[in-house]
């Protein structure tokens, strides 16, 4: 069992991260919450402080994570505030409009910058820190969309896929140093990111359910978890379809 007493959350205003934060404080964690929207972040940090029944610390920190130059500074402040770091949860991103990315490279690049490049910058800092302290958990929320490119969202999928593969390598590198590298692959989650989607199918899940599985995976140091679990089988199937056939499907 990994210790989760001092946790840094990147993207603390995301619906999934907010619920994960509630679960983490229930398990006794102190939190350092990074978000870019000061108003939203204050609302969430205040709430977490009231929900917290003991004397754990909960602090907010405003930063746009696209600004990769600032990443090492954030980690430094987090470490000073919490007195060390047991775990980091990276849970932010944007879901770009695929159609518009097809006609605008700069939109596609922005999506890849925020969903992949900025995450890799964070992971580089985190990896070196945890490698030297020889313990810790790095959890990143990737997506099932990163498992195979599909015409409906391959820009987002490519960014998530890059993160997933980067995480695989990192896990391989850090295993011998006692660091857990946890890739979380949620399916369809009912959050502001997917506002306006048709959510009538049974494949949709509430963020509070995803967050439970996420925190459990961090605690037990799993390598890669699909949430909810049935997505493992759906994605296995989707990955098995031969490309010759797959290219003709409208997925």
């Amino acid at each position: 069992m990994n210790e989760l007493k001092k946790v840094v959350i990147f993207g603390a205003t995301s619906a999934i991260a907010e619920h994960a934060a509630r679960d983490l404080i229930d398990r006794g964690a102190s939190l350092f919450c990074v978000g870019r929207d000061q108003g939203k972040l204050e609302v969430i940090v205040t709430d977490l402080k009231i929900r917290n029944s003991t004397s754990q610390r909960i602090e907010g920190y405003v930063a746009d994570l696209m600004d990769t130059e600032g990443h090492s500074q954030i980690l430094k402040v987090a470490e000073e505030t919490l007195g060390g770091i047991d775990a980091a949860l990276v849970c932010y991103g944007t879901l770009p409009d695929q159609k518009r990315c097809e006609s605008s490279f700069s939109m596609a690049r922005d999506a890849i910058d925020v969903n992949a490049i900025s995450v890799i910058s964070l992971l580089t800092e985190l990896a070196n820190k945890f490698e030297s302290q020889k313990r810790g958990v790095i959890a990143v929320v990737s997506s099932v969309a990163g498992d195979r490119g599909r015409q409906s969202n391959y820009v987002y999928g490519a960014a998530k896929g890059m993160v997933s593969i980067f995480m695989q390598g990192l896990r391989n590198r850090l295993a011998k140093h006692g660091v857990s590298v946890v890739t979380i692959k949620p399916g369809f989650v009912d959050t502001p990111m997917t506002e306006g989607f048709d959510k009538s199918s049974i494949l949709w899940t509430k963020p509070e359910k995803i967050s439970k599985g996420l925190v459990n995976a961090m605690e037990s140091g799993k390598s890669c978890v699909y949430l909810p679990g049935f997505w493992r089988w759906i994605m296995l199937l989707i990955r098995c379809i031969p490309e010759g056939l797959f290219k003709r499907l409208s997925l």
Binding site: A15, G39, K40, V43, I44, T46, D47, I50, R51, S53, D190, P192, E195, D198, K199, S200
Partner: protein
């Protein structure tokens, strides 16, 4: 389209054109093409929380605490926080909800909009009496902070205002101090209504919480038999066993209602005669206030067609005779109800223009939905209620006529000017158009 949202009794099944989750209280309302209405946790019975072909603003993610002063017991939180979550935070600090309905799975915004009441109405009034302030977000972007003295017209229109005046984003309430999470509960059976009235008078004077269950299928001499429960919060000196809640689920919706004449008759007989019911006991607050919460989706036992609630209030002068007539009609008709609850309201006038609670006696019943047959029975009950000068509870209604509503809520016309021009509900259209 998103999943269809239903109310608790799963009738009527009305589809909204759009469901919009609100999670940021600092943001504007969405630019919906059709009318909007807040949807809390859907624990109303009927269509006050539904908006056919319109837009529902789902508030379950508007669920943050804003301030809790554990010295003064003042709590401010967003409108989608459930009473369950509030209790889990305040009870360990020695505070309790000043007033609570019979389930803790309602949002504080829903409790405000229906100006709900609890078993302690005779001592403390309704939920609205304990609201210090709230913010009302209107579709034109205005944010009105409402208190009894500031924007007070909107304060009185929005409490019990059935969600029509805009979106309540946060609510501040005054909590009540307690010394323990346990309750002293006394129970006493009564053989008929006459006995109920005398027990009620005696207990109300001494106990903060009172309520009675009545056997609505018992006929003739036994008509109106039941059990009277009174309770108060226990004090610290009592010794407490520890409490662990376990809950069940109904796994599937049966095709037909499991609540029928026979099952209700058997249940009522056993419940009334239960020789093991202690006269006095110590109970944790959860099973005392929220016995139905133990079965997470008990509403399913009524089958696919759902069920109807019927809750009326009758003025004191006419209550005795009217309740007797209502029970007579129901017992003869033989469409029974497990949950027949009788309680007197105190004399504190409610704050909302459309609040339901008023001095008098309230009777609440539920009936499996047998279509026409059930609707006819309820129409005949309406007749008695109307004659007696009573009113029906909008939070528990899915079928009353416009006339019945307008008689019971004479302020409905002056209320109209406070309705947000972009808000409406299926209930409101049904009873006013």
């Amino acid at each position: 389209m998103s999943k269809q949202l239903l109310s608790w009794n799963r009738y009527p099944r009305l589809c909204a054109a759009q469901i919009h989750a609100i999670s940021n209280r600092l943001a504007h309302l969405p630019n919906a093409e059709s009318s909007m209405l807040a949807y809390g946790n859907g624990r109303s019975y009927g269509d006050v929380c539904l908006n056919q072909d319109g837009c529902l603003l789902m508030t379950r993610y508007l669920d943050r605490f804003i301030n809790f002063d554990s010295d003064s017991g003042i709590l401010r939180c967003e409108s989608g926080v459930t009473l369950e979550k509030i209790l889990s935070i305040i009870v360990p600090k020695g505070w309790f909800l000043p007033s609570t309905p019979g389930t803790r799975y309602v949002t504080i915004g829903g409790a405000l909009a229906n100006d709900v009441h609890g078993k302690n109405h005779h001592s403390v009034g309704t939920f609205g009496h304990h609201i210090r302030s709230f913010e009302l977000l209107r579709s034109d972007g205005q944010r009105l902070e409402c208190t009894p003295s500031k924007n007070s017209e909107y304060f009185h229109a929005t409490i019990g205002g059935l969600g029509l005046t805009g979106l309540v984003t946060w609510v501040e309430i005054q909590l009540a101090p307690i010394r323990s999470p346990w309750m002293h509960v006394e129970s006493k059976s009564f053989p008929n209504l006459k006995e109920f009235w005398s027990i009620n008078q005696q207990y109300e004077a001494e106990w903060p919480y009172t309520v009675a269950w009545v056997d609505c299928l018992a006929q003739n001499k036994q008509r109106g038999r039941g059990i009277f429960f009174s309770a108060r919060h226990a004090s610290m000196e009592d010794a407490f066993p520890c409490f662990k809640e376990n809950s069940w689920r109904i796994p599937v919706t049966p095709p037909i209602s499991l609540v029928n004449n026979l099952s209700v008759r058997v249940f009522n007989e056993i419940y009334y005669r239960n020789p093991n019911r202690p006269n006095s006991k110590l109970t944790h607050y959860i099973p005392y206030f929220y016995p139905l919460d133990k079965i997470k989706n008990w509403n399913r036992i009524y089958g696919r067609k759902g069920f109807l609630q019927y809750q009326c209030v009758l003025p004191h002068e006419s209550a005795e005779a009217a309740i007797d007539s209502l029970l007579e009609i129901i017992s003869k008709n033989g469409q029974g109800s497990f949950l027949a609850v009788l309680k007197t309201f105190g004399n504190r006038a409610s704050l909302g223009m459309l609040s339901f609670a008023r001095p008098g006696v309230t009777l609440a019943l539920d009936f499996p939905n047998h279509g026409e047959r059930t609707l006819r029975l309820l129409d005949s009950l309406d007749f008695v209620v109307k004659e007696a000068g009573g009113a029906l509870y909008p939070a528990k209604d899915s079928r009353m006529s416009g006339e019945m509503f307008q008689c019971g809520f004479p302020e409905w016309e002056s209320f109209m000017k406070f309705i947000d021009p972009k808000f409406s509900s299926s209930f409101w259209r049904r009873v006013t158009q």
